[in-house]
Amino acid sequence: MIKKSSNVLLEVIDIAKEFDVSKPWLNRVIERQERQILKAVDGVSFTINRGETLSLVGESGCGKSTVARLVCGLYKPSRGSIIFDSVNMADAGADEVQQLRKRFQMIFQDPYASLNPRWRVGKIIAEPLRVHKIATSNADVKQRVDKLLTQVGLSPLDAEKFPHEFSGGQRQRISIARALSSNPEFLVCDEPTSALDVSVQAQILNLMKDLQREFGLTYLFISHNLAVVSHISTRVGVMYLGRLVEVADTKRIFANPQHPYTQMLQSAIPDLKMTGKQRTPVAGEVPNPLTPPTGCAFHPRCPHAFERCKTERPNLIDYEDGGQVACHAVEEKRINIRVAA
């Protein structure tokens, strides 16, 4: 592993994931239905540099969680490639993949489901240590587990307890300790705080930032909450119906969103400072992903849509400040909302 030349830790090239959601064969024949393919992710590309946090945001069904699971190897991509530290995961042998697994871990959304209820906390945190043979003697394992528990703000005494004895926030700390135990460089966080209360969410977000600074971690952060995303990320990617519509620096994307969907999402954020004022209500809902609109998937809800949007799918094009936008209107400079932040 002497390939640490590039600054790019993860590169995702045109990945797609299709799920076959058809009814069983017999039903299809009787009801004369076609096979139904759900394109959960349809051609997504991005890179993550070492030490940064890339967030993917979007509404339910936009495929952001599927991207997280593809990156972690929980799903096999239908096409495209995932390159982790210059190694293409698809070409890597079983041993090499097992080696790579040590270096990336995942934190899940539901702190109540992500810990095995029948295991003691110490055993849960030690699992990666034992699987990857990082520590083998019981004394060594115990010492490491104690240290991890302290790092995430719990007590070494908690190792003897069962998950149900902890609150949601404390469980998420246990999840983080488990994810950190194999000394990974890269963490995929799938909505890690959306099941938590705000005060606990603040604790976890602060902890994640502290750990990132301390260990130089790289995060892929999945969330539907724009405020959380704006707080934690370096760069943000906005997804809509399985595709990335805009990627840019956090500051830029919130100060000066380009894609109409990003603008719409942003105006929908509840703002505490605007007490009593109305949000800009957003028209329409996310279409059924089984039958996505032709052309740009956003066109039925887009105030700037015109003929070309209905037929031709826009690709991500580089925008002046290093960001990328997939929108015909922006490309043709028909919408110009370049306002100083």
Partner: protein, 341 residues
């Protein structure tokens, strides 16, 4: 407020909800009192386990056994409703108090068309012929913004999207023109863009119908945009109650202050969020005195260990009411000065 001598629409007095368990009674809601005036939106906010949903359930008489009202009174338009026999209560439910729950899918019976469900509710409570009821149902669906209501009325719940389903639920809650609506996390299961639509809708309808709303949610953003007044609950008690702008912008109780600081917002440049250490106590281990005292940073600012020994009452603090000894001692001091002067 003193200019309205009339009885408030809903009065909750010293409500106490207990869960008998084998380890003694757990007090989930502990001696809370509040009023809602006609046409007013009261937000009830708190973290999970604060007792906010139980309070809502108690008002509408849907407290799940073994939970029970151990003490206190609930009065609707001056009439006591917490001790009514089941049949009487059933008449009030739907007719005088409507309910909107979190999950629009489970609030509707999947086997009946939405029209049948709305018409049934109307016919149960209002003296209308079937044709009149149907006309009213279509009118309601139009009002909540369901396109082609005269056709959609004969559709089943699964034929609607999440946002549309929540609209149907709202029309169901409004069917008999109730005076009060209990909305328990009405937007939590929805995407941000849909949330904004639903909030706008609830607000508009309540204003037009003069309906009072008790809006139970954990989302301060929703409260900020919808509520007139807000009650902040912690560990089964009201920590602070007051006009929404005051509570958000100049909170008085240390818990509310911490809660407001913990909410990330877009564009705030802080590296770390303010966090409240620790977690909400379990019902079986609520601390003596002020329930918040183990997490409070200002315990030592109150003399005589009052915070750990004596429970504070809700008393005026700034422009809100807070249950905190900090403000009580301040008030007492001013009282003393008044006496000496």
């Amino acid at each position: 407020m003193s200019s309205t001598p009339a009885v408030p629409l809903l009065q909750v007095k010293n409500l106490r909800i207990e869960f008998p368990t084998r380890r003694g009674n757990l007090t989930a809601v502990d001696d809370i009192s509040f009023d809602i005036a006609a046409g007013e939106v009261l937000g009830v906010v708190g973290e999970s386990g604060a007792g906010k949903s139980l309070t809502g359930a108690a008002v509408i008489g849907l407290l799940e056994p073994p939970g029970r009202i151990a003490n206190g009174e609930i009065l609707l338009a001056g009439r006591r409703i917490d001790n009514l026999p089941f049949e009487e209560l059933r008449k009030i439910r739907g007719r005088e108090i409507g309910a909107i729950f979190q999950d629009p899918l489970t609030s509707l019976n999947p086997l009946y068309t939405i029209g049948r469900q709305i018409i049934e509710t109307i016919e149960t409570h209002l003296d209308l012929t079937h044709a009149q009821a149907r006309a009213r149902a279509i009118e309601l669906l139009n009002e909540v913004g369901i396109p082609a209501a005269d056709r959609r009325i004969d559709h089943y719940p699964h034929q609607f999207s999440g946002g549309m389903r929540q609209r149907v639920v709202i029309s169901l809650a409004l069917a008999a023109n109730p005076k009060l609506i209990i909305a328990d996390e009405p937007t939590t299961a929805l995407d941000v863009s849909i949330q904004a639509q639903i909030i706008t809708l609830i607000k508009k309808l309540c204003r037009e119908h003069g309906t009072a709303v008790m809006l139970v949610t954990h989302d301060m953003g929703v409260i900020a945009e919808t509520a007139d007044r807000v009650a902040v609950m912690y560990a089964g008690r009201i920590a602070e109650i007051g006009p929404v702008a005051e509570v958000i912008h100049s909170p008085q109780h240390p818990y509310t202050i911490g809660l407001m600081g913990a909410i990330p917002s877009v564009g705030d440049a802080h590296e770390r969020l303010a966090q409240i250490d620790g977690s909400m106590p379990r019902l079986s281990a609520i601390p003596k005195g002020c329930a918040f005292n183990p997490r409070c940073t200002r315990v030592n600012d109150v003399p005589n260990h009052r915070c750990t020994t004596e429970r504070p009452e809700l008393l005026p603090a700034g422009k809100t009411k807070a249950a905190c000894w900090l403000h009580v001692s301040a008030a007492a001091q001013t009282d003393k000065q008044a006496v000496t002067a």
